[in-house]
Amino acid sequence: MKSEVVRRLSPEEEELAVKREELSRLEVQLAEQELLLASLKAELAAFEGEYLRRVGVLYAELDEWNARIAELDAEQDGTPEAKAKAAEARSQAEEAYSAAHGEAAAVQPFVPSPELKSLYREAAKRVHPDTATDEADRTRRERLMKEVNAAYAAGDEDALRRILAGFDTSPDAVQGSGVGAELIRVLRQLKQLRDRIVAIESEIVSISETDLARLKEKADLAATEGRNLLAEMEANVQGRLQVIQRQFEMRSGE
């Protein structure tokens, strides 16, 4: 019988093993939370794009007609009040136009594939800045995490694969020395991860309280009833456009 020397673990080493296990659990949990947040943001941006393209542009058109009517009134009245009203209506129309036709309106529908999601989970776990062990490492990871989020929102699986392939975790492994130093580092990472999970939770709450998220929630609810809320809103504003155009025609015919 071959005798084996089993080295008994010191209490610090035992503690370290427990904490490392907890750390890897938290890393998985954090990656999941990051995925949730990134998905929420991407879905909202996509919804905003669709909303602006369908309803926002109609609001902008409504404001345009309103400005034209105010300008006609100003021309006919010539009072300072009428002129001020026309100027205000004009700037509102311009504001609405740029909002409805801006960058946000270009965002296309977001439909993440399971592969994209699992690449994101993996990347988030590996490069997450809150697993950094020093400032230089954190800076590098923050930059990478931004790239990961952007690639996810763009649905770019290849970019995620490139980030994963180029990421080298070895510096962590060789840093510091001794069980004590390692334990301290792990404890610090644990705290960072927990803080980030709490931060994500509160960010999700505050995002879902925005007007856009409320609107999306209503649209989603309507969809479960077989209704198309954006189409209903479109029809409503279209109807109002008809009325305001007729108003304009009557004013300009005076």
């Binding site: 609001y59 007007d211 009325v243 009557m250």
Partner: protein, 366 residues
Amino acid sequence: MSEQDLRDALVPVQSASIALKGSQSLAKRGLGDLRLLEAAEEWFQKAKDLYNAVPKEYSVAQFRSALGEFFKCLQRASNFDPNHPGIQSWLGAAYRDGLGTDKDMVAAANWFRRAADQGVADAQYELAGMYMYGDEGIPQDSSEAVLLYQKASEQGHVDAQLVLGAAYLDGAGLTRDIVGSTFWFRRAAEQGSGLGQYFLAEALEEGRGVEKDSIEAASWYRKAAEQGIASAQYGLGLMYKKGDGVEKDLGEAVRWFLKASAQEYSPAHFQLGHMHHYGSGLPKDYTKAAQYLHKAAEPNEGRGDIDHLSTAMLAQLELADMYRVGRGVEKSATLSESWFRKHQVAQRELSKLRQVNSDVSERNRS
């Protein structure tokens, strides 16, 4: 609609929260508008529920007074969304019929007009009806009426299609156009309207605005007859009797005449009476013949209808004959004489009616 009406209309052309910047402001604006639309929808539903909750057995006066709350809800709904086509239609109906408010034909026409402009077929149809005959404060304008009937018809409004078909046929408010008439009857028929099927069958039978086709006519008569249209049951019976478009079958003819007769369609009484009188298709039975012929000789309705008038005229002649010889009735020279006089009057009425009809078509043709 005048500009004043539009100004009074409170259309929220602008949303409450427009003075905000960026795309988030558009989201806020949409959300704010949605709340208004939802509130409008809620009050609209409440109004409809109140309307439907009024007991059916109420008299007209009770019905109207029970609708006060209904009208208030409808107005609230309209304040939240003055541009809602459904609410506009209902307001039109409420003002026209005085439901929970005083009758106001001008207001009714304005609301119907706004819904009609948004493409609501029912509102187009109702507004057309107001223009067709004119109403308090609404000038009669049959060409506007026809235009609106046309719009509603194109959207598949069956009643509008029937009115339009009839208007093209007798040239009311527009140039007589028998092809157009048959076109709209066919559209209504194809959508399953029994009356449309009946009118189309008539057109096909007479070759009116369409190539004469007895076989197709019979098949549309059958569809309408199966839906319980008495005049179509009679028409189908006649085709079986004559063997026109279907194989001659007096049994089938009797079967359909009986259905029409059960609905008090007077020309069917005549056919049954006549068949009993001469024992063709039915057993010879003078008593039954006399009963049917009496009913046919004095129709309760259909005075201006050629079928009713001509069968009544024939029934009167047969009755005069039966009273003269005492067949199925007690012999009576006086009654025979009186039926014969009625027959002569009816004959003159009928030829006048035929003259008027041909004058109308002549005038419209030129």
